[in-house]
Symmetry: C2
Subunit: 210 residues, 2 copies
């Protein structure tokens, strides 16, 4: 299986980390344009969704969307279970994984792409037409990220991991979100000591380097 | 199981439609503030995520996030399979379900909540702090919705249903998206005849009235 990857982007990292936790070796193909903050034209022309990552199976099927790629890997390689075992565990993990993505990572992307001039006309990935930056959206993203940190801290005061008592895909999405936020100078607020404790534990895993 | 519902909102409709297709009877509890475009305070105070829908299980566990609620229902009531049978089918359906949600429904919400004055200070659901409307985001949403219609039309020129040859959860998300867009006067463009054909087929299902 080929993973179309871009090393500087957070979303491919989620898949690399997930595969590492599973012990799955992927054939990683870098499709960033060297030295430029954008994907290479030949990848964009070949992939109708114009985003990374995507996973190409041996029969040529191309799967997009991080949680979908990860679920596929879970289906063909169930151990260790990273989406939970029972329906209730799966729901708990699934809910928190989405909270991290939509309430944490999405705001980080809003901040980055609507603030930084290098993203002029490319304020959203995946579009062939120009999407202009909206500075007010970067500010909104910052506000949302603050709310997310508080929510995550409250969750991690009750649970060791984001999804409950075991490491799961929710921790991967949460970890990559905090890494992205930190890179954008919105690191973990001092008051969020539960997030700091959890972040240190995840950062110490081998997969964090994947 | 109790479904906390708000009849005017699109997201609870996705769950109602999914449950109807499965033949699952949910105890539907309406939590909208009567006559107001907002949720009732007692629901907001009790639900830390401050959004609908949520599903309360008989043991008191509360599950949030539409795709997570639907997956839980699929796990406890597998027939008919609405998330696909094989890992590849599941991936295809999962990918398109997310495309509908993030590239179709999210823009509809951007248009509605950033344009309509009734949403002053509530441009995003789920936040206890004021989130101001950004008019430029409504315009961006409209642009994105146009791209989504084209993408969906291309997909439905190759496939009978959004996820492939069988009706699935992707059709539910796609259908509710098109209904929401139409309500916001962004109905199916004339050129998108495949979307029109598919929409008529889904609208004719009993579950479309759920």
């Amino acid at each position: 299986m080929k993973l179309y990857n871009w090393n500087v982007a957070p979303n491919p990292r989620r898949v690399r980390m997930f595969a590492h936790e599973k012990g799955i070796e992927l054939d990683v193909v870098d499709v960033g344009e060297p030295g430029q903050p954008r994907l290479a034209d030949n990848y964009l022309d070949a992939n109708p969704h114009r985003i990374v990552p995507s996973l190409e199976l041996d029969d040529g099927t191309v799967i997009g969307e991080v949680p979908v790629i990860c679920r596929y890997l879970e289906a063909i390689h169930p151990a260790p279970p990273l989406f939970g075992r029972t329906p209730i565990e799966q729901a708990e993990i699934g809910m928190w994984e989405r909270k991290c993505e939509l309430e944490g990572m999405a705001p980080c992307a809003e901040i980055l792409r609507n603030k930084v001039k290098a993203f002029d006309g490319r304020a959203l990935p995946g579009y062939a037409i120009p999407i202009e930056r909206i500075e007010a959206l970067a500010d909104r993203g910052k506000l949302r990220l603050g709310v997310f940190y508080e929510k995550l801290d409250a969750r991690l005061s009750d649970a060791e991991y984001i999804g409950g008592d075991a490491f799961s895909v929710a921790d991967i999405t949460g970890f990559v979100t905090v890494e992205m936020a930190t890179q954008g100078r919105n690191g973990i607020p001092e008051a969020c000591s539960n997030v700091s404790r959890w972040h240190a534990a995840i950062a110490a895993r081998e997969s964090a380097k994947a």
